[in-house]
Each structure stands twice: as C-alpha cells, then as structure tokens.
Amino acid sequence: MKSIQIGNGERKLALANIGFAYSAFLIGTLCGLLQVFIRNDALTLPGWLDYYQVLTAHGLLLAIVFTTFFIFGFFQAGMSRTIGSFGGKVLRWSWVGYAITSLGTLLVVIMILAGQASVLYTFYAPLQAHGLFYVGLALFVIGTWVQGFALVGHYWVWRREHKGELSPLFAFMTVATIILWVIACLGVVAAVLFQFIPWAFGITDGINVELSRSLFWYFGHPLVYFWLLPAYMAWYVVVPKIIGGRVFSDSLARLSFVLFILFSIPVGFHHQLTEPGITSFWKFLQTVLTFMVIIPSLMTAFSMFATFEVRGRELGGRGLFGWFRKLPWKDVRFTSIFIAMAFFIPGGAGGIINASFQMNEVIHNTLWVVGHFHITVGTPVAMTFFGLTFWLVPYLTGRVFTKSLQRLAFIQIITWSIGMILMSTAQHLLGLLGAPRRTAYTGYAHEDALAWFDGVLSNHVTMAVGGSILFLSAVLLVFIVVQLWWFAPVSKGENLESFPIAASDSSATPTFLENWKIWIAIAFVLIAVAYTIPLTDLIQHAPPGSGRFQTW
C-alpha cells in the first residue's frame, strides 16, 4: 500500500515538537525516580536540590510539557496528512508558536532549578514564585495559542475551498480540541496576568487566594480533557485503521467531541469541594455538570468496542467473545492503545468517585488522587501517545520500525503496565488509609502512619517498586525513540510507515455538528451559569489580600 507522506516543513515542525516532548519526558520521569528514593530514605539530595523542586519539575514536565508538545506534533502531522500541506503562513506561525512555547518552558524550568519556584504545578497562591516563573507560564500558553490558531487557520482555508462539506474527522477533532484549550486557558491566563504577575513583581500587595484557586481550576479540569481528547482521536481515527476496520459512527464521534467542549469546562469546583468560600449549592451544581461529561466517554467506550467486535467478526470470530481473540494482538501499535483504554476503565470510575461531592472528603489530597491521575493521564493518555510514537516517529524520519524494535516496544508497554499497576494500586489503597500526597517523607509518628508500610499492596515500598519499574520502562521508550529517529534502517519505499487514518462515513452526519458558533455560544452560557455568581461573590466579598510567602 502506498502511504501518503507529508511535506518537509510539517515533518520538521512535528519532529521538533515530539523531540521537545521526549526530552521533557526523560527528565520528568527521572524526577519521578528520585522522588521514589527520597520518600523511602534511600537517597539524600545534594544541598542545591530539594524534594519539592524535583516534584514541581516532575509534574510540570510530564503533565504539561510532555503532553502539550506531543499533542501539537501529532496535530501538525495529522492535519497535514488529512487536509493537505501547510501554506507558508501556517508553517511560519506554527514555528513562531513553537518558539514561544519553548521559551516559556525554558524560563519555567530555569526558575525551578534556581530554587525560585518550588510551588508545584498548581502554583497555589500565596506561595510566591519568582515573577519570571509566571511570565514563563504565560508565554507557554500564548505559544500554544499561536500554534493552535495556525492550525485553525489551515482548517479555515480548507473549509473555504470545500464549501458545504464536512471536514475530515481528524481535522474536526483537532479544531474541537483547540477550541476547548483556548476557552479553558482563559481562566489561568486571567489569574496569571491580573493576579500573579502584578503581585509577584510587587505592583500589587495582596492576592485574592480563593479567586486565584477558582480561576486555576476553571482551567485545571478542561486541561485533563486537553490531554484526553488527542488520545480519543487516536482511538476513534487511528486504531480502527490499524486493525483494518473503520470508524463506527462518524456523527457520534463528532457529537462526543462537541459534548466535551460543552461540559468539560464548567466543572472546576469539583476540585475545590472541601474549600471555604464557595457554597454547597454551586459545588453541587458543578458536580452535576461533571457527571454530564461522563456521557461522551461512555459513548466513546461503546464506539471502541463496537469497532473491535465488528472487525473481530469480519476476521472470523464466532460466539459472544470469539471476536476478541481475532484482534491483531501482535501489532504493538494496537496492543499499546488497547492497554491504555483498559486502564481508563478504573481511571474513569475513580474520577466519578473523586467528583462525588461529599465522597471527595474521603480521598481529597491523599495519595489516592496521585494514583488516580497516574491511571488517567499517566497511562491511558501517555500510553496512547507511546503507541502513536511507535509509527509516528519513523513516519516522520522515514525509517523502519523493525521487528527487534517492535519486540522492545512490547517489553516497554508491558513493563509500564506492571509498574503502573503496582504503583497506582498502592497509591489508591494508601490514600484510602489517609496517607497524604505531595510529601517528601512518610515518617509520621503514629500507628496509623506505620500501617502504611504494613500491607502487601497498601505499602509505600510497593509504590516505590512500581515507580522504579516505570522509570526503567521510560528509559527503554526513549531508547526506542532515539533508534527510530537516528539509527533504524532508512525505509526504501516498500516498507514506508504510514499515518493510519480510518475511513469514516460522514454521509449521514448532520452539518450543524460543525457549526462551531453554536457550540462555543452554548459553552459560554454554561460557563456563565456555573461561574458568574460564585466568582462575583468571591470578588465582592473578598478578604484583604494575602502577602507573598516563600516557605521552601
């Protein structure tokens, strides 16, 4: 089969993003390994480095930097593949955006290394980092907007040239994700520009802490959907092609993305359920909206298994579950993403528990939460990205994903799974036993705390073993990426990697699904309903502002 290759400009752009992503990945996972050892008293850091510096770097580099850079690399390659080569302007602005995003990241990392920003990735006021840390964050967001708008511009050109047509599913989903991202960032941009920067540079003296937290979480929850939606794109569009099938339902795939734009934003209070300053009514309203955002995930789960079953039966699978065995398990591009999906079942269920209003008190800020996001962003999203990497990098570098590298890839995803099961199970159980998150040590002098070393799975040591396996797996992944980038044999036409895009029959898809104005308008109405009154209350009845604290 002849595969469609994309232009050189987009190739370099996507590789630049993916290269940055994996550099951050290597450092971020190394930080994770250090944390494991420090927490168990097996390592003392040199004087110039502190546990909370390492923890800040771990969170930012993996949850924000790795994901965002990888997502843009994936988008840029996929948009060029599905709606055609970028024009000079799109390419230029994409590079400008990339440069700004990178500059912002470097500024943030320098501030963390300098010990001026041990505020963790949530940077809760009134912990005050160096002003340049916040400038770096702002640049990071602006850079992603520029890259995002460049892609949207490319999409508009396509729409103008294809009046009345629905765009290809990949392009539709990319635009939906960028819309979600831009609206979500408004909250954190407002907090950083109007609250943090003037305060950190001494222009204002006090900060409204609860308002800054609410603006952060207005951003913080859709942020997780910004990670998840590109993974869903891989599930909807890429995986069916890899297994030889097609998209189960074009209209439902689009509808689910529209629902994410509507319901993933007005839900941030479910991260603030145990805080003062917000009444129970508004907390509960956002809990209800949070439950709405589960529906598109239920739709996605159905679509995935429907695609698998249809394809498995085409391949001769019989009986209730016979189709399951017919799936191409030996293809690591499929198996990796299937495992990623499987992790999202407990991950999603845990999320429902976390958002369940008073039930949140049982687990809030315990290790349970850490376990939760390692089996949501840390595996379903991250391992989907690994699965994409296995073909996307050789597709972009023109090399071959050889048999021996495929074997290594299997070892990589299996070790990641084992490490993650050990670590996240331990974290969930320890959280239920009350062990707090974000602590450098675990040595509380109380019998309840001693019990955190007693169990088989509910044990800090199990967590450390899992974390160590994860780091080895991460190193293996980086080795594979390096091989695919520089050392694997160059493909010679025949064995060229392809960018798998499944056929999606959009003949019955209603065109209003692509009328973005409607969805953006409804999204803002929902945001206004969920946020106007409680935020106004926080502003009108604000206590005197908090001063600047550096307690690290």
Binding site: Y124, L127, T274, P276, L298, M299, G434, T551
Partner: protein, 157 residues
C-alpha cells in the same frame, strides 16, 4: 443521527446509573446534611490573631451544647498544638491560615478540610471512639510540609 440499538441500551443504562449516583449524593448532602466542609466567613489574613474567634484558639463549648475547636494553621504546624475533645459529642472544627494554604485532615475520619488564608472553613464531626487520631496537612505548604502534623486526643466524657 443514527443510534445503534445496543448503543441506546448502553447509554440509557449509563445515564440511569449516573442519575442514581447523583441522587444518592444529593439526598445524602441536602436531606441528611452530609455536605463537605465549607464556610462563608472571611478574615483578614494579617490580623487573624486579633479577630474573633481566632483570638482565642482551642476547644470551647457553644451555647447549644456542642463543641467547637478554633484552629489556626501556619507553616508548619497548628495552633493549638495539641487538641483534646470529648467522645460522642459533636465537634465543629473552625480553621483558617495565617500564611499559605494548608489542610486539616484527620486520618480515618471524613474531616478533610482545606485551610485557605482569608477564608474560614468549618466541619462538624462526632468521634464515637476514644483514642489518638493523627492529623496531617495534605496540601503542599513548603519545605516542612511533611512535618506538619498533630494529634487529636478523643477522651471519654
């Protein structure tokens, strides 16, 4: 838009489950009064110790016969340092912070409060069993975050 029959069943089942979950949570919250900690009182974070009720921290009995523990969290400890409360009585914890965000979380109970400067948080709890309960700060507050802990001693009345 075409919906496959099985997908309809799946979604009806899924949404019904969500409605059921929400109803349980809602009834428990608004009928039985199990709401998470919260509060609507503000305080000047720089004048905490001059402002009632924080000018006198510790345990006191309220007019309705229940108890209140007034707490100030600070990097990296709590005032009062040691808390003693009666078993079998309702105790309301009232907390604010003098500096950064902390938490007041009693291991093995549903008392898990964010302590935010400028805001006053409340949580009522009844300890049925006497004993010594571990309190930890589970919100990152600085280099000594992991040392920030205390104990609640619950004694027979």
């Amino acid at each position: 838009m075409h919906l496959h029959k099985f997908e309809k069943i799946w979604l009806v089942f899924g949404i019904a489950a969500l409605v059921l979950f929400l109803s349980v949570v809602g009834v428990s919250a608004f009928h039985q009064g199990h709401t998470p900690s919260g509060g609507h009182m503000r305080v000047d974070p720089e004048k905490v110790r001059e402002t009632a009720p924080f000018n006198q921290t510790g345990l006191r009995q309220k007019e309705d016969g229940t108890y209140e523990v007034v707490m100030i969290a600070q990097a990296f400890g709590y005032d009062p340092g040691k808390i003693q409360v009666p078993a079998g009585e309702q105790v309301t914890f009232t907390a604010t912070s003098e500096d950064v965000v902390h938490s007041f979380s009693i291991v093995g109970t549903n008392v898990n409060m964010m302590v935010v400067p400028g805001q006053v948080n409340h949580k009522a709890h009844t300890f049925d069993e006497p004993g010594t309960y571990l309190v930890v700060c589970n919100e990152y507050c600085g280099s000594g975050h992991h040392f920030m802990s205390t104990e609640v001693e619950v004694v027979e009345k």
